[in-house]
């Protein structure tokens, strides 16, 4: 697993042991208070703020923390801790989904780097809209005629497009450390772009093929 974030080690207020996550103490099970907004997703899992993460280590950490804070195990005898445990579990699930999904993770890193947000900058590469319209027509035609082979062909093309966008997103997200504004804007454009591919992929009925969203 990656090294913990560079903040001084947290100690549990109950048992005074070091905590590997600010959300709860995995030694004594004490639950933390919810902060006013939310936890830092990286700090919560005790991993470095980098685009490249080890998904297995993240998953393992997620399961360990779930065992400490999930309401089924942490509500206490008379359920007195239920509300706290519910809120923390929802927060853990949010943070896990943010880091697990490459697009959500890049989006999160971009927001930590100062944006722009999707509401502030909706630009996409010029040629994209024409391509999207073309794909949409192909999907509608194939659906109307029940042509599953054509649908699968479109799906393959779209998966390829999305893969390209994801590769670009990864490169740009790794370059966020420089703080370069142009880099951030280009990342924004790619994140906007991948949404179009995902929306199109969602319109194709499932065929049992795997890896629709990587």
């Amino acid at each position: 697993m990656s090294e913990p974030a560079s903040t001084p080690p947290l100690r549990c207020t109950e048992c005074e042991n070091p905590m590997d996550s600010p959300i709860a103490c995995s030694t004594c099970g004490a639950l933390s208070q919810m902060p006013a907004d939310s936890f830092d997703s990286y700090e919560l899992f005790g991993i470095k703020r980098e685009y490249d993460i080890d998904p297995r280590a993240l998953h393992h950490k997620y399961l360990c923390l779930s065992r400490v804070i999930h309401p089924d195990l942490a509500s206490g005898e008379a359920g007195q801790q239920r509300s706290q445990s519910l809120n923390l579990s929802a927060e853990l699930n949010r943070a896990y989904d943010t880091l697990r999904d490459p697009v959500a993770r890049a989006e999160y890193m971009l927001s930590l780097a100062g944006g722009p947000k999707s509401s502030e900058n909706k630009t996409v590469p010029q040629e994209l809209l024409g391509q999207v319209l073309g794909f949409r027509e192909e999907i509608e035609d194939a659906r109307a005629s029940g042509d599953t082979a054509a649908l699968q062909a479109v799906q393959q093309q779209l998966l390829g497009r999305r893969e390209t966008a994801l590769t670009r997103i990864a490169e740009l997200a790794r370059g966020l450390e420089t703080g370069d504004l142009q880099n951030r804007i280009r990342l924004r454009e790619q994140l906007n772009t991948v949404k179009y591919w995902n929306n199109l992929l969602d319109q194709i009925p499932p065929t049992g093929l795997a890896g629709r969203r990587g």
Partner: protein
């Protein structure tokens, strides 16, 4: 401790059958009747004297009491009268369902009419739950107040709430609503004593459920899951019951049952298979004899016949039957398995379509599925088995009785909540997207389907008019783009918004879906930081007050209908126990201290007094248990004395 910790029962509240199970140190077990049958038909009949009968007896008398015998009530839970009528659901039923009058607009709740009584689906379900509760109390010899109840994974918020309401009306604290396929996975994954090929199997996981920290230095103190190899397995649970279908894809790793996705249909099950046969018979009788056989009594009779034919065709290539229509007219028919399969194929294909959706949402390829588990009685249908095998490319796994596995899983989850076992954890998902109606009637999604629960989303609301103090929000669940195509869960009305110019108040509303898949809404005015009042009018559900009132009513009925004989049983037991204690006192009372002896004599008087005055069976039951506990030492002395006497006799 012992008696003071509440026991938690696990209940599978099914469309056609229900079961109750408990979990102790030796594992989960289904509570059975004297003949060894665990299933209780989810069927009840109201006698002319107002007495309610539940289970096999009710089912066996369905033809005599066609309009007062209620079955398949689960298909009505949490749904509106209008939609049920629109879907043709009500036309199939021999009993009468009406729209319940409501003073509030926008509400639409069905009710079953029995004589002059109107009973909502949660009240009907509560009767079944109370019967299961009593079965558990009789067999465990103690009061039961807490339960885990299972629901189809694809149940929406309204259907889940209705199930929880049913539990409350039955006098049960519902600790957890668990999804049926998830419960089944828990039973399979944690190992239950089952019967495989007639042989008792050991308590060990039937599925590979192993895992180890993928990193050696994880700081994770939970050693229970640090053994075995680090493999994880992905399983599919295909659950086709009497009235509902679910498919769930789960990952089993490190003792955690992680649901990756779920899909289903809450109106597809064995009931629909039966209906295909019923429709065929009705059609042909009409063609051949010009007869309409749609009276409530014939419908009840046909239901039994159709189910029987369907079950026979699971093991035989054809099934013959005849119906005597009177006046020397006899309808004779032989249905082949092939013929039935043609009728069932469209229904089964719909379940396969759901499987594809679930796999896609889980981002899992069929080849990555290491085990397909079949749950629910309808999975005995050969066509179901062969189609599932084709789609997943492997033989489905059926080691546990498909009728009982959900109840066993519910009992395991009950054990987890009661703290008797901490080795497992369920992480489930919300089956349907949750959102709100936005301007123009669109569905604005806030939480996407298959998001892990608990989860939450927040949304800011404001006012449209100057001085407006109330804001109404229509909360929706579903995947369609327009609000009118989704299910409305209810109108949430924010009250007490400070009067300000339009658009100035900022109300932050939090939608939290809890571990039961049930929505909790809270609101806060951001400027003042004050909690805003929020009133919920459930579209197809009951309000808190209604549930409370029904619980009291049902409590009253329950006392009259069912508790009478429990009181009699308890009083007999008290007479027996107190007499026996007096005899023991006479024999070995001198071995007790004087204070001890006086206390027991007083306890005997108290308990006899209570037996005469108390009418609350639970309280009387507790008094009896306390009495028995306080006389344990005396009983031990009496046994010792008997042993000594026996020994002395042998010596002579």
């Amino acid at each position: 401790m012992g008696d003071t910790t509440d026991i938690v029962i696990g209940i599978d509240l099914g469309t056609t059958h229900s079961l109750v199970a408990v979990c102790d140190e030796s594992g989960p077990r289904v509570l059975r009747d004297a003949t060894g049958e665990g299933r209780v038909p989810s069927c009840l009949t109201f006698g002319l004297d107002g007495k309610v009968t539940v289970g096999w007896e009710a089912r066996n008398h369905a033809i005599e009491n066609p309009t007062s015998t209620v079955f398949s009530i689960k298909r009505l839970m949490g749904r509106g009268f209008d939609e049920l009528e629109h879907d043709g659901e009500l036309a199939q039923l021999p009993y009468a369902v009406v729209k319940r009058a409501s003073s509030e607009t926008g509400r639409d709740i069905p009710a079953v009419r029995i004589g002059d009584r109107l009973l909502t689906p949660p009240e009907i379900s509560a009767v079944i739950l109370r019967d299961l509760k009593r079965r558990a109390e009789t067999q465990l010899g103690r009061a039961v107040r807490k339960a885990v109840i299972t629901v189809p994974a694809y149940f929406d918020d309204g259907q889940r709430q209705a199930t929880r309401d049913a539990g409350r009306i039955a006098g049960l604290e519902v600790l957890r609503i668990v999804n049926e396929p998830t419960a089944a996975a828990l039973a399979y994954g944690l190992g239950v004593r089952g019967q495989i090929d007639g042989q008792e199997t050991k308590t060990q996981p039937l599925l590979k459920l192993s895992g180890q920290c993928s990193t050696s230095d994880c700081g994770c103190p939970h050693s229970a899951h640090h053994d075995a190899d680090s493999e994880e397995s992905t399983i599919a649970v295909y659950d086709l019951g009497g009235g509902t279908f679910d498919i769930s894809i789960l990952r089993l790793v490190e003792g955690v049952f992680e649901v990756l996705s779920t899909h289903g249909n809450t109106r597809l099950g064995g009931d629909d298979f039966d209906r295909q046969i019923i429709h065929l018979v009705e059609r042909e009788v009409k063609q051949q004899f010009g007869l309409d056989i749609q009276s409530p009594a014939t419908r009840q009779a046909l239901r039994g016949l159709a189910e029987n034919v369907k079950i026979r065709l699971s093991s035989e290539p054809s099934a013959s039957f005849e119906i005597d229509l009177g006046s020397n007219r006899v309808y004779r028919r032989t249905i082949t398995r092939g013929e039935l399969e043609v009728m069932l194929a469209p229904w089964i294909e719909r379940t396969i379509e759901s499987c594809r959706h679930a796999l896609a949402d889980a981002r899992v390829d069929p080849s990555q599925i290491s085990q397909v588990v079949l749950v629910g009685g309808s999975t005995r249908t050969p066509l179901v088995r062969s189609r599932v095998e084709e789609v997943f490319g492997r033989k489905p796994y059926t080691a546990l009785n498909p009728d009982e596995v959900v109840a066993l899983g519910a009992a395991v989850q009950a054990g987890i909540l009661a703290g008797t076992r901490r080795d497992a954890l369920l992480l489930d998902v919300v089956p349907l997207s949750l959102g709100i109606e936005t301007l123009g009637g669109a569905m604005g999604k806030l939480i996407l389907r298959n998001t892990r629960i608990p989860c939450q989303a927040t949304e800011r609301f404001s006012t449209f008019a100057d001085g407006q103090t109330n804001v109404k929000i229509n909360v929706l669940q579903g995947e369609r783009e327009l609000a009118r195509d989704c299910r409305s869960l209810g109108m949430f009305e924010l009250r007490g918004v400070p009067p300000m110019p339009a658009g100035i108040p900022k109300i932050l509303v939090t939608f939290l879906i809890d571990e039961n898949g049930i929505l909790n809404v809270s609101a806060r005015e951001e400027r003042s930081g004050q909690e805003a009042g929020i009133q919920i009018v459930p579209t197809h559900g009951l309000t808190q007050d209604e549930v409370k009132r029904m619980e009291l009513e049902s409590y009253a009925h329950a006392r009259e209908d069912m508790t009478a004989h429990r009181l009699i049983d308890l009083r007999n037991q008290i007479t027996f126990d107190t007499d026996k204690t007096e005899q023991m006192l006479a024999r070995v009372g001198d071995r007790l201290g004087p204070g001890e002896r006086a206390a027991i004599e007083q306890a005997i008087r108290d308990l006899r007094g209570k037996a005469e005055t108390l009418t609350d069976a639970d309280a009387l039951h507790n008094a009896l248990i306390a009495f028995d506990r306080n006389t344990v030492r005396l009983a031990e002395l009496a046994i010792t004395a008997t042993l000594q006497e026996t020994l002395n006799q042998e010596k002579r």
